[in-house]
């Protein structure tokens, strides 16, 4: 690994002042794990972004899932990160301890298997995620078309519309985007070009190992210095200009683009994916005649500002004082990709 050499590279930017946003929660965790925040020039800040699907999901979604989990003969299936996210009604882990059947799956297809194995139960998969996950949910939806007991409670979101909002906000003051590698596998490099041009924000698509991250920082700072508002693909191992066409097709087959609320960014037009009309019988909202009602943030919680790149976690008055991974107040302290959890775990207090 040539991290030291690349560090030397970064010293070329000693005079540069810039706010960089690592859009992806996995990048936040990786930057923290590798201790890279300390390698940056002194006036370059790395801010977290909205790229943690659990973190941007409104508490109302969790409350609705809890309500469904308490119904008779219902099994809730979910990715593990969702279990401890707090809501007005508590968290799914608590409801499971009370006797609700809440099962952690690593793949949406496991939920299909659970539904097939339990024909007398109604199974609801909590479909939360970005473009990386959406095609996998789509295939499990197509595999469920003939099932009478498998439903999807969806909170699926698209990254480019969120970046559009962040770019357009004057208070964001973001000078460069480090773009999510695995979202980009699906949507491709060109999906970001208009955003970089429109808001004059140089951007780099990055992988996740130490060399990927350090070289991405170097490329991004060079672009900022030279005022090149381009989108560079620094993860060519798996990202192409146009993305995974087959994955895009299956997404289009299952979903319509809809408006959806993001914690910290509000309702963003055309930033979500809702089930198409011919698949609406699989929509848990319709099948259970329920709706997701918005919830206020927990008092004092600044997760919204962290996700919008306005502050770093230690700037929240609750951080490490009353909010910790053992006793989280907000979702960013819960998720393994949450900025607050990353800062706490790696001692960036």
């Amino acid at each position: 690994m040539k991290v030291d050499n690349i560090k030397y590279d970064l010293s070329r930017f000693g005079e540069l002042s810039a706010n960089l946003m690592e859009v992806c929660g996995t990048h936040t965790m990786a930057f923290s794990r590798y201790g890279m925040y300390d390698m940056l020039p002194k006036d370059v800040r790395l801010l977290s972004g909205p790229g943690c699907p659990v973190c941007v999901t409104d508490g109302g979604f969790i409350s609705t899932a809890i309500g469904l989990g308490r119904e008779k003969d219902v099994i809730i299936t979910t990715f593990g990160d969702m279990l401890r996210v707090p809501s007005r009604c508590g968290c799914l882990e608590l409801v499971r301890a009370e006797g609700a059947d809440v099962r952690v799956v690593y793949s949406p297809h496991q939920s299909v298997d659970i539904a097939q194995a339990n024909p007398k139960k109604r199974v609801v998969f909590l479909a939360v995620g970005f473009e990386t996950t959406i095609p996998t949910v789509a295939l499990s939806i197509l595999a469920s078309r003939e099932l009478k007991n498998h439903y999807f409670l969806t909170a699926l979101r698209l990254i480019p519309p969120a970046l559009n909002i962040i770019g357009s906000r004057k208070e964001s003051r973001i000078n460069g985007f480090i773009l999510p590698g695995h979202v980009s596998v699906i949507i491709g490099r060109m999906a970001y070009e208009k955003i970089a041009e429109r808001y004059k924000i140089p951007s780099v698509i990055s992988g996740f190992n130490a060399n990927d991250l350090m070289s991405s920082l170097s490329i991004l700072l060079s672009m900022i210095k030279e005022k090149r508002n381009e989108v560079v693909n620094n993860y060519e191992r798996v990202v192409t200009d146009v993305g995974n066409k087959r994955a895009q097709e299956v997404m289009e087959e299952c979903f319509d683009v809809v408006d959806i609320k993001w914690r910290g960014l509000g309702v963003i037009e055309k930033s979500g994916m809702g089930l198409k009309a011919d698949l609406s019988h699989l929509d848990a909202r319709k099948a259970f005649e329920t709706e997701i009602t918005e919830e206020d943030e927990p008092e004092g919680c600044a997760c919204g500002d962290v996700l919008a790149g306005l502050i770093t976690p230690p700037e929240c008055s609750l951080f490490s004082v009353v909010c910790s991974p053992d006793d989280p107040i907000g979702p960013c302290m819960v998720s393994s990709e949450g900025a607050c959890a990353a800062y706490f775990k790696y001692g960036r207090l």
Binding site: T26, Y106, T132, T133, V185, V238, N244, R246
Partner: protein
């Protein structure tokens, strides 16, 4: 949640491949990718392959220095 990990294909049956991921064999759906063969390296997310890569690229992604060195030595 957007984590994806390279894994090597050891068997294919229809839309499902058995892949070796960190010394564990799991099943992965390969409907989202094309040109998969035994020996291919796939990028796996949530039980589905979302991309195909070369062995060299996979090693780079795995970020295992010893494996990278071993690969370089073997030429």
């Amino acid at each position: 949640m957007c984590l994806a990990i390279p894994a090597k294909v050891i068997k294919i049956e229809g839309d499902i491949a058995e892949v070796e991921l960190a010394d564990v064999i799991i099943k992965a759906n390969i409907q989202l990718v094309e040109g998969v063969e035994v020996g291919s390296w796939l990028l796996i997310h949530a039980g589905y392959a979302i991309g195909v890569m070369s062995e060299e690229e996979a090693m780079e992604s795995l970020d295992l220095i010893s494996q990278v060195l071993k690969y370089n030595e073997s030429g």
